[in-house]
């Protein structure tokens, strides 16, 4: 399967690592032979229509920025859109940085891929948060697949669990801690009795929080994920502007200590149910399986028959998220194979 990788940051590099590692085992066990035929980064691209060898992919990573400087395969100044338009491939893997204002450039990359008949795997929440109903329709219309399991839960298969493992059952509500950074901050505040500000600084020192932390602490990241869960699992046609969002800046040490007296704590919870799609700090009991601490994520699906199902895992990380990309690629290969043989 020929793959165009768009975006060469932490996740992009993780994707090449995972595709290169145990390459033969992928062929033997899954009949899956991934070939990266192009990598497009912000200032240019590398292209090899035969597919880059695992060694070459590793060499790109060692050599670092900019990859388009490669003398043999480099195309300096070539844009990702040009690569998607001109290079033959089955799948575009879109892993550029998130932008929740315009969703660009990822949104253009994805629509260009659809129009040129390419399937898309993305870990980018922006386009989905802003235009998920539009994108799923466009994919269906162009007869291509759009997969995005890396957008929610990182490497933890939250989307597939709900979609596949709970097939036939009815999911009534989804509640989840979907952002590791805020969960770390709230855990730190509660356990070490420090203020929001101190906990934020600690998180930034450890690399859990960005220097501009708004995306996480104001609840937008969680909101993006809740939009994706709403659309994909609950069939609600919502976008980011439909989510009622409150971040954790208003959570004080006093509130946490108060909750502790009731054997509870405060977590930033994303919720989808019949009435609302929301993100806000909520008090939950220590005994609630959702009550995980540190950078962990957790999600509970309340179902009609199978009752509550909770999934816990690391919700982020380059290699974890890249593993979700691999799952999506395998899923697309499987679907394409049955299409080709029908």
């Amino acid at each position: 399967m020929r793959i165009i990788l768009v975006g060469y940051g932490i996740v992009g590099k993780g994707v090449t690592t995972i595709l290169a590692r145990r390459h033969l085992e992928k062929i033997a066990s899954y009949g899956f032979n991934p070939k990266v035929v192009a990598i497009a980064d912000i200032d240019g691209a590398v292209i090899n229509t035969r597919g880059f060898s695992p060694e070459k992919l590793e060499a790109f990573k060692q050599k670092g920025y900019p990859i388009s400087a490669d003398t043999e395969f480099g195309h300096q100044g070539m844009t990702a859109l040009e690569v998607i338009e001109n290079v033959e491939a089955e799948v575009v893997v879109e892993v550029t940085p998130v932008n929740i204002k315009t969703a660009e450039p990822a949104l253009s990359h994805i629509t260009k891929a659809f129009k040129t008949g390419k399937h898309v795997v993305t870990t980018n929440k922006g386009p989905l948060a802003l235009a998920m109903p539009a994108l799923t329709e466009l994919a269906e219309y162009n007869n291509v697949f759009l997969r995005f399991s890396g957008t929610v839960g990182g490497g933890t298969p939250m989307l597939e669990f709900a979609k596949r493992c709970l097939a036939g059952d009815r999911i009534l509500t989804i509640k989840g801690i979907l952002n590791g950074t805020t969960n770390y901050i709230l855990s730190e505040m509660g356990q070490n009795r420090i203020s929001f500000q101190e906990a934020l600084v600690n998180a930034q020192k450890l690399g859990y929080a960005e220097r501009e932390p708004s995306m996480d602490v104001d609840g937008f990241d969680t909101a993006c994920k809740i939009v994706i869960l709403s659309n994909w699992i609950m069939g609600k046609k919502v976008t980011l502007k439909d989510v009622d969002i409150t971040g954790i800046r208003g959570v004080t040490l006093e509130m946490l200590q108060d909750a502790a007296k009731r054997s509870s704590t405060i977590k930033l919870i994303g919720t989808v149910d019949n009435n609302e799609v929301s993100v806000r700090p909520l008090e939950i009991s220590w005994t609630n399986p959702l009550c995980v601490s540190g950078v962990l994520n957790a999600v509970t699906f309340q179902t009609e028959y199978a009752a509550d199902q909770t999934l816990i895992g690391r919700g982020a990380g380059g290699i974890e998220t890249a593993s979700a990309v691999l799952r999506d690629l395998l899923d697309i290969r499987h679907k394409l194979a049955s299409k080709l043989l029908s």
């Binding site: 399967m1 020929r2 009949g31 035929v37 089955e90 394409l336 043989l341």
Partner: protein, 469 residues
Amino acid sequence: MKKIIMKFGGTSVGTGENIRQVADIVTQYSKEYRISVVVSALAGVTNKLLEVACQAKNGDEKLVKNVTDELLQKHREAVVSAITGKPLQKEVNQIIEEIVGELEKVLTGICYVGELTPKSKDYVVSFGERLSAPIVWGAIRDHKLETQCFTGKEAGIVTDSNFGDADPLMNFTMHLVRERLGPLLEKGVTPVVTGFIAADQNGIVTTVGRGGSDYTATILGVALEVDEVWIWTDVDGIMTTDPKLVSTAKLLPQLSYQEAAEMAIFGAKAMHPRALGPVSKENIPVRIRNAFHPENPGTLITKEPVADAKQAVKAVAMIKDVAMLNVNGAAMVGAPGSYAKVFDVLGKNNINVMMISTAVSEANISMIIKRNILSRAISNLEIALLERGGLVSEVTAEDDVAVIAVMGAYMKGTLGIASKIFATVAKKGINIRMIAQGSSELNISFVVKEKDAIEIVKAIHEEFNLDKT
């Protein structure tokens, strides 16, 4: 008087001077034969039209004007040097201007609509022959011959509505062509007919696609029950091999229809099998001749060549820009339908297989396909068939190979041809990657590394004395 069709290709009507030469040839032979002329577009014009049609689709109106001006200029120049009589020049120029005017309108229309359907593409492309035919007509008239100009549609060639690759409704065509051209020929008039273009039953312009103007010539040949079809081109005829590869390549004086069809792999310098279809059914001989050396006899294509033209190996060709695709899988052994799955996947992805070879052990199929679609072929085969415990365990490829084809109708039943071919290759110390021969025995094809291909073509050419015929 015998009847013949004379078809003149793009380079033989490339310039005004060449068109004069065409008129000379027609005039000279008109003393012996009743001639119908089929003409291609001036060299390069059809491609230019295709190009401008595609660009017109993107709304480039200025380019349309430039191209139509350029075409007008080109054809006017041809008129001046092809036709001497001033009044006649003026008359032909007027026709050309009208046709170019119409072309400009069509292209501008495409600019506005922003769409190029196969139907409108055929219409645009038809202008190439519509512009060349009047000049040839004028040049023949210049020689005081009675002549009349027809489009394929006016001549009565009716096709299906498969635009871009239309096939004639042969009986209907025969009926109309005989009605329209027959009486003129009887009166000694020389019809000049545009090649390549025709019309469907509703009168919408079509093109015959693969086979081109040669196809028009053979269709007309059958319709008019001619004695021979002459294809005038810029080479002496069909050669034993590509003279650019082997300087000792010789002209083949005679070939059978079957052989000529095999030699279509020589490309533009030979005839497309499709064009040979109508004449081979009616047993009408075809001659390929050089318009620039009309004294040469050319290649005669008939049902059964004369005895001394029945040598076993007639020609050797090399096919480049190909790749070898190998599909391996022990699970294919003894499994009915397994090959079908492989070819079904390729077919669904619009991949044409040029050559196949597989041993009776069944665990491997080797194929030759065009090199530019190799990665698509591999990718789709892997996606569909590579599966744990599945049919196919591995898909491999080599993209540095070439096919060598050794051809001749009388290879059939002649012993020792294959051993001679392969001994020749072995003597050069070159490894053969793949071999195929169908039971028709017209052709033995094998695959070698591209770097060795020319050397082998030369060696086989020599071994079978093709340089000495």
